[in-house]
Structures are given as structure tokens and as C-alpha cells.
């Protein structure tokens, strides 16, 4: 196969008659799962944008409902409805203004540096989401629904952290080793799921979920052992990462933005090349489109499964390195926060494409960074921010719902009544 990729053979190749060698899991169920994945990925930008808008509108209702003043005004709604609406408007607008000020630009800040700090915070928070999301996107396009980014981030962080605080090495070398360690840690953890899938047909969803649990308790255990603790302390927190293993700060001491963000950009470019321009990426996409056809075409589906998982895990491991070597500078039990799960949303929202994932990661970083300001300045519960994120997922996962709400036509649907309906639309 040449590096310049011809269009995928999609459904042109019929499934092979001989399925005797196929792993157990490639049954009709899996094909249906892939169908759903494909539908989510093929939904248009319009639907994605409208899903976000819809999520913000519904969240606005929740913000108003959670606000004390709105609740007070609701008691006498019928006596003076204006109070209720102005309170609701105040609550929602001030919450979203705080969200914007916490995520993008804060005109109320004293200095210019403080005013643009929110934007750099957004980029800092989005770094692990982008990295892990890119990895998950590769898996989704190869037909693997990898839920295991959480565990892979943890393992990446454990490896990066251990190399970081145990060894004494000069600056670029130490950082490089720690970063490579993170990629190996994450890749190895995901590779387990890949090998099990390839060799035994064990479903990757179940295996990766279980590996997440194992990783969570593994790091909790490791942090109770002496090599991972500060000397003379029994707190489950590692020694600090020395400067020689830290990602350098990009904009000076005032900002937390670190070189991990550059790694995320490079990773996005790499994934774009890998999946869009390389032979390997072509094979992986072929496996994702139709494993039977890919096998007939001479592609080793099993080895694709393993290497897709290893690559995805390595990227998630890098996300772990961004946390432990860049943002936190110390290893704790919740180093992965909920990045691994948020990254699933990021990858789906970005329709598994590198640029889309990158933008979706920044959107989620903004929601998170803005959430802090929303909570501190307006008293909006942090849970509401999580609800916004969840609503985005909900609507992304249900394109027909969004299309129904906004009366959009289904993609690819034939329109038998073309002349009449178009005139009707013009009239309306």
C-alpha cells in the first residue's frame, strides 16, 4: 500500500466467508457498536455546535434554579414575576460572565498579566485532556472503544513521577527520560488490553474499565510505600519533582502554562500525520471501518489492535506526565482527576479527528478553568459545570435528538419532496 492513501474500501468489500479465525468478539454486537461510534463521529459541525448551545441553555436553567435569590423570587412569582426574571437573568448572566472571565479574559484584573492569565489556565488544564483525547480518538477510529485513559494516565504519571523524584540527572535528559517513561507506562497499561483483545477476544471496554480500577488502587498502594513517599512522612504524597525533570514554564513564573502544552500540539500534528498520511494509520482506519474486509485485504487485525492500544496508551501516559511534571509537580493519588473520562467526551466531541480533539480539549479546559471562577465569584456549585459537560456529551451522543430539537434534516437522507419542501421553507 502506498503512503498516499486511496479512499477506504468501506463496504465495497464483502465480509469474508471464512470467519473461523476471527476472534470471538467480532460478532454482530460489535459491528453495531462501531456503527454507533461511526454515527457520532460523522455528525456534522453544526450538530456539535448546537449540542453545546443546547447544553449551555439547559445549564442556564439549572444555574437559575440553584440560585438562592431566584428561589426567593419564585415564591412570589405570580405577585411580581419581574423579580423572578430579573433574578434569573442576573444569576445566569453573572455565572456565564464569570465563566468567561475565568476561562478567557478578565477585564476586572489589576494588571494585564492577571487579565490574560485565565486563557493560559485554560490551556494548562486542557493539556492532559488533549493528549488523552488524541489517544482515545485513534482507538475510536480503529474501532476500539477504549475507556481506559484514566488508568493509562495514572500509570504514565507513576512512571514519570518515579523517574522524576528518584534520579539525579541534568535538565533536558532527566525531563526526556521521565516523559519517555510516562509514554511507556501508559502504553504498557493499554497494551495489556490490546493483547487480551487480539489473543483472546476479551472485550476492550470491560478490560480497560477493570484496568482503571487496578490503576487507582495501585497508585493508592504505591503512595503508602517508602520509595514513593517523602522521607520521614507517612502522607500519601510523593517527594516534589526536581526542576531538572519539570516541563519548563512557557510564559514565566506568573503563569502555570508549561511545555506540556507544546507536547500536546506536537502530538496532535503527529496523530494527524499518523492517521491521515501514513500507511499504518490507513491500516488502522481500515480495521476500524470493517475488520473483516481489512483481514481479507491482508491487514493483520490483531497486531493493529495491539499497536493502536499501545499508541493510545502512550498518549494518555503523556497526559499523566503533563500533570505530574508540569501542573502539579508532585504525585498524589488523584493525579488523574477525572481527565481520563473527560477525555472520552473530548475525543467524541472532536469526532476523533486531531484538530477537533484539540479544539474540544480547549473547550473543556475552558469550562473547567472558568468553573473555578464561576464557583468563587457567583457561588454557583462546581457540580453545575460538570452538568454542562455531561449535557454536551449527552447531546453529542444523540445527534438525532439535537436534529429534532432544531428541525435539522438527517444527514444523507434522501428528500423525496424536494421542490415542495424547499418552497415551504422559503415561505416560512
Amino acid at each position: 500500500m502506498s503512503p498516499t492513501t486511496p479512499p477506504l474500501p468501506d463496504a465495497a468489500v464483502p465480509p469474508p466467508a471464512d470467519t473461523g479465525t476471527a476472534p470471538l468478539a467480532t460478532g454482530p454486537d460489535e459491528n453495531r457498536g462501531q456503527g454507533i461510534l461511526r454515527e457520532i463521529m460523522s455528525s456534522s459541525w453544526v450538530v456539535t455546535t448546537l449540542a453545546i448551545v443546547l447544553a449551555l441553555v439547559i445549564s442556564g436553567v439549572l444555574i437559575a434554579a440553584a440560585d438562592q435569590e431566584v428561589q426567593d423570587a419564585a415564591v412570589y412569582f405570580f405577585a411580581r414575576p419581574a423579580d423572578f426574571f430579573s433574578a434569573a437573568w442576573d444569576a445566569v448572566s453573572s455565572a456565564y460572565v464569570a465563566l468567561f472571565q475565568g476561562a478567557v479574559f478578565d477585564p476586572t484584573a489589576a494588571t494585564f498579566a492577571k487579565a490574560i492569565k485565565p486563557l493560559t489556565e485554560t490551556l494548562t488544564v486542557s493539556t492532559p485532556l488533549i493528549l488523552a483525547g488524541l489517544g482515545l480518538g485513534i482507538g475510536f477510529r480503529a474501532g476500539l472503544f477504549n475507556i481506559g485513559a484514566q488508568g493509562q494516565i495514572i500509570l504514565g504519571a507513576v512512571f514519570a513521577g518515579y523517574i522524576g523524584f528518584t534520579f539525579d540527572l541534568p535538565f533536558p535528559l532527566h525531563l526526556l527520560l521521565a516523559v519517555i517513561g510516562a509514554a511507556i507506562g501508559g502504553g504498557m497499561w493499554a497494551g495489556i488490553a490490546g493483547v487480551l483483545k487480539a489473543r483472546t477476544g476479551a472485550h476492550e471496554v470491560i478490560v480497560t474499565i477493570m484496568l482503571n480500577s487496578i490503576a487507582v488502587y495501585l497508585i493508592a498502594y504505591l503512595l503508602t510505600t517508602t520509595p514513593f513517599q517523602n522521607p520521614g512522612s507517612s502522607n500519601p504524597i510523593s517527594p516534589p519533582i526536581p526542576e531538572s525533570a519539570q516541563y519548563p514554564l512557557l510564559l514565566g513564573d506568573q503563569f502555570r502554562l508549561h511545555a506540556g502544552f507544546i507536547v500536546a500540539i506536537l502530538a496532535a500534528v503527529f496523530v494527524w500525520w499518523l492517521m491521515g498520511r501514513s500507511t499504518i494509520g490507513f491500516k488502522w482506519r481500515a480495521v476500524g471501518s470493517n475488520p473483516h474486509a481489512a483481514r481479507t485485504a491482508g491487514i493483520s487485525v490483531n497486531s493493529a489492535y495491539i499497536w493502536v492500544m499501545v499508541t493510545a496508551g502512550a498518549l494518555a501516559g503523556l497526559a499523566g506526565s503533563a500533570q505530574v511534571l508540569g501542573t502539579d509537580k508532585v504525585l498524589t493519588a488523584d493525579v488523574a482527576a477525572s481527565f481520563g473520562f473527560d477525555a472520552i467526551t473530548v475525543a467524541l466531541l472532536g469526532r476523533s479527528k486531531p484538530l477537533g480533539t484539540f479544539m474540544a480539549g480547549i473547550l473543556f479546559g475552558a469550562l473547567r478553568a472558568g468553573g473555578f471562577a464561576m464557583q468563587a465569584r457567583t457561588g454557583t456549585p462546581i457540580d453545575i459545570v460538570l452538568v454542562v459537560q455531561s449535557l454536551v456529551v449527552l447531546f453529542i451522543a444523540a445527534p438525532p435528538l439535537v436534529r429534532a430539537v432544531f428541525r435539522l434534516p438527517a444527514p444523507g437522507a434522501r428528500r423525496p419532496r424536494t421542490p415542495r419542501s424547499s418552497t415551504k421553507e422559503v415561505a416560512a
Binding site: S233, P236, Q323, D328, A373, G379
Partner: protein
């Protein structure tokens, strides 16, 4: 059309009926559009002082130390008239951004709840010398000279650690538990093995040992070995069913007094104890007789840790301009820690144990008896 008119008429009637239900407040002036303000409780004549708090990842409704801290801050808000602002963290990655936001909100005092906030609070305190900081359950330290050296304790001009000699009260609770046990077996377990949890278990085990010494008995402690610093933990502070299972295991091994040091998980243990019939519970953090009234018939005593009071006192001093970086240490002496009364189970505790506990308490207060724990700060 007809239908629309009917619906309109009906809704109009309903609106009129409902309008009679609630009446709008008259004084418009006192309700400015202040929803942009955080959940403040600034009363009239409020002090121009803002006290703020960052939770750890447990959140302010953890029925444990975050909640106690938040209650202390809220009380300071209503009683002292200071403005308060609380922000919750959902993970360790949230600490620094949350502290940043509170700094931007112009807080005069920022209190971090839990040892996990040590580094973020310390960094913020160094960078913002004109803001005061408090830290619950941990003191401040710098990393050692080399990575093999233990951290060096440091004193920050504007940082106040709020610490508790919890082991002293847990010691008395262990003594009572051993003295009240009919089976000669008592038990304890924790949520996660961290110093602020194991300090309870150390004191409890020492108290049982002291009882064995005083009365030449051999009461056994299940779930914790102080020398090895190893024992039973459920692995989180959330899952009550784990608390129930672990307590059942202890009850099967004959334990009849259990001290769960695991926040809400302990309620699972209380449920198991209640099912078993004659098993008693030692509460932690607050007096469970009051905070867990469902189980008041089986609460023998509780190890009380007054985080709320310590937060209140810190805000009180700081808002009056007398903030000091001197650590607050809760002891039996200043009632920062204590054991709760025996309430309904008073008759079950032998009289000689009661006298002895009172004696020991005085000895600890006077410094004659030292109760120590490796988890002590």
C-alpha cells in the same frame, strides 16, 4: 380557537389564584441585584473582612472534616459579621486554581482543609505576604536539602497550621471501649491510611493497651497494629457498604465495640453493629449521638475533633487584627479535642473505668502521661 380561549381563561384564573399565595417584599431597596455576590452572609453592620476556605476533594458535604471546617466558617460569618466565601475542589488539580480565584476575590484569610493542600497553600502564602492563610491537619515544611532528607518544618509569617492531638482523646475512647467490652475484643478501621486517620487508631490501640495494663486483662484490638502501622482500611471515604462488610467481619470475630475512622463509611459500620444487636460504636470527629441520631442507642462515646471551633477562633482572631502564625493545637486541655459523654450507654460503662478515664484525662492534661503517635504533627 375556542380551545385557545378556554386555556387562556383557565391559566389567567390560575395565575390570579396563585398570585394570592405569595406576596412580594415591599422594601425594594434592600434587595439589590446582588446575585453576582458569592454565598455571603454579611449581616448588617458587617465587618470589612473576608474569610475564605478551600475544601479538599471530599467537598463540603463529606460529613467529616471539610464539613466541620465549613460549619466553623459559616458560624464566623453569621456571628462575627465577616464575609465568607467557600469553594469546593473535586480533585487535587483544583487546589491551586481555587486558591487563585479566592486571591482574586480579595480574601483576607484563606483556609485550606486537609494536608493535601499543604503545598498549594504554602506557595500561595509565600507569594502573597499580605494575605493570611490557615491549614487544617498539617504544618508547613520545605523539602529537605537532598531528596533523602526529611522535609524541614518552616514557620510562615502569614500561615497558621491548625493541628489536633487527636490521639489523646482516642486513647481515652480506647480505654472506655476496652473497659466496656464484654467479649474482650474491640476493633477499629480506617478509610484511607493517612496520618489524620491513623492518629485515631494509634490512640485507640494505646488506650486498650493501657486498660490491659491497669486491670491485667487481655482485650484484643482488631484492625490496627500500632507498631507495624498496619491495619484494616476500606480504601475510600464514600462507600458505606464497605464499612458494613468490614464491621461484620469484626463482629464475626467477636468484637463488640468498633471505632470506624472513615467519615460517612462509619455509618455503614453503625448499621452492621445495630443489626448484630449488642455491638457498640465509637464515633469520630463529632458526637455521633447528635449527628447520627439513628444510631444513638449504640453510640458508646465519640472522639470529638473541633475543627469548626478552631476555624472559628482563627477567623475571630484574624478579623480583629491579631492573626498569629503560632500553630493552633487542639488538645484535651483546650477542648480542641474531647471524648463525648456516654449518653444512653452510661450504665454499661463500669464505675471504676469511669473514674480511671477521668484520672487519665487529668494526667494527660497535666503532661504527666504522654500519648504519642507517629502520625502526630
Amino acid at each position: 380557537m375556542n380551545k385557545i380561549i378556554r386555556v387562556a381563561a383557565l391559566s389567567g384564573a390560575v395565575a390570579l389564584a396563585l398570585a394570592a399565595c405569595g406576596s412580594a417584599p415591599e422594601d425594594e431597596a434592600t434587595t439589590p441585584s446582588s446575585s453576582a455576590e458569592p454565598s455571603t452572609s454579611a449581616s448588617a453592620g458587617a465587618v470589612d473582612y473576608k474569610a475564605c476556605m478551600v475544601s479538599d476533594s471530599g467537598g463540603f458535604e463529606d460529613k467529616s472534616f471539610n464539613q466541620s471546617g465549613a460549619e466553623g466558617l459559616d458560624r464566623a460569618g453569621s456571628e462575627l459579621g465577616v464575609t465568607v466565601n467557600k469553594v469546593e475542589s473535586t480533585a487535587a488539580t483544583d487546589f491551586t486554581p481555587n486558591i487563585e480565584q479566592l486571591l482574586a476575590d480579595k480574601c483576607n484569610l484563606i483556609i485550606g482543609v486537609g494536608f493535601l493542600l499543604e503545598d498549594p497553600i504554602q506557595a500561595a502564602a509565600v507569594a502573597n505576604p499580605d494575605v493570611d492563610f490557615g491549614l487544617v491537619d498539617s504544618s508547613f515544611s520545605d523539602p529537605g536539602a537532598t531528596k533523602n532528607d526529611p522535609p524541614v518544618p518552616v514557620t510562615l509569617e502569614n500561615g497558621k497550621p491548625l493541628l489536633f492531638n487527636t490521639q489523646e482523646a482516642a486513647f481515652l475512647a480506647g480505654y472506655v471501649a476496652a473497659g466496656t467490652s464484654a467479649t474482650g475484643t474491640v476493633a477499629t478501621f480506617g478509610g484511607i491510611q493517612i496520618p489524620s486517620v491513623s492518629i485515631f487508631m494509634d490512640g485507640f490501640a494505646d488506650g486498650v493497651a493501657q486498660y490491659n495494663k491497669d486491670f491485667s486483662k487481655t482485650v484484643k484490638v482488631l484492625g490496627w497494629n500500632k507498631d507495624q502501622q498496619k491495619g484494616s482500611f476500606t480504601g475510600d471515604f464514600e462507600d458505606q457498604s464497605k464499612g458494613q462488610n468490614i464491621a461484620k467481619g469484626f463482629i464475626d470475630q467477636g468484637a463488640d465495640v468498633i471505632m470506624p475512622v472513615a467519615g460517612p463509611v462509619g455509618l455503614g459500620a453503625a448499621a452492621a453493629a445495630k443489626d448484630a444487636g449488642d455491638v457498640m460504636i465509637v464515633g469520630v470527629d463529632a458526637d455521633w449521638y447528635n449527628t447520627a441520631p439513628d444510631y444513638k442507642s449504640i453510640v458508646l462515646t465519640s472522639v470529638i475533633k473541633e475543627i469548626g471551633q478552631s476555624v472559628f477562633d482563627t477567623v475571630d482572631q484574624a478579623s480583629k487584627g491579631s492573626f498569629s502564625s503560632e500553630p493552633y493545637v487542639g488538645t484535651l486541655e483546650n477542648k480542641g479535642i474531647d471524648i463525648a459523654p456516654f449518653h444512653d450507654l452510661d450504665s454499661k460503662v463500669p464505675a471504676e473505668v469511669k473514674t480511671k478515664v477521668e484520672e487519665l484525662k487529668q494526667q494527660i492534661i497535666s503532661g504527666e502521661l504522654k500519648v504519642e503517635s507517629p502520625s502526630q504533627n
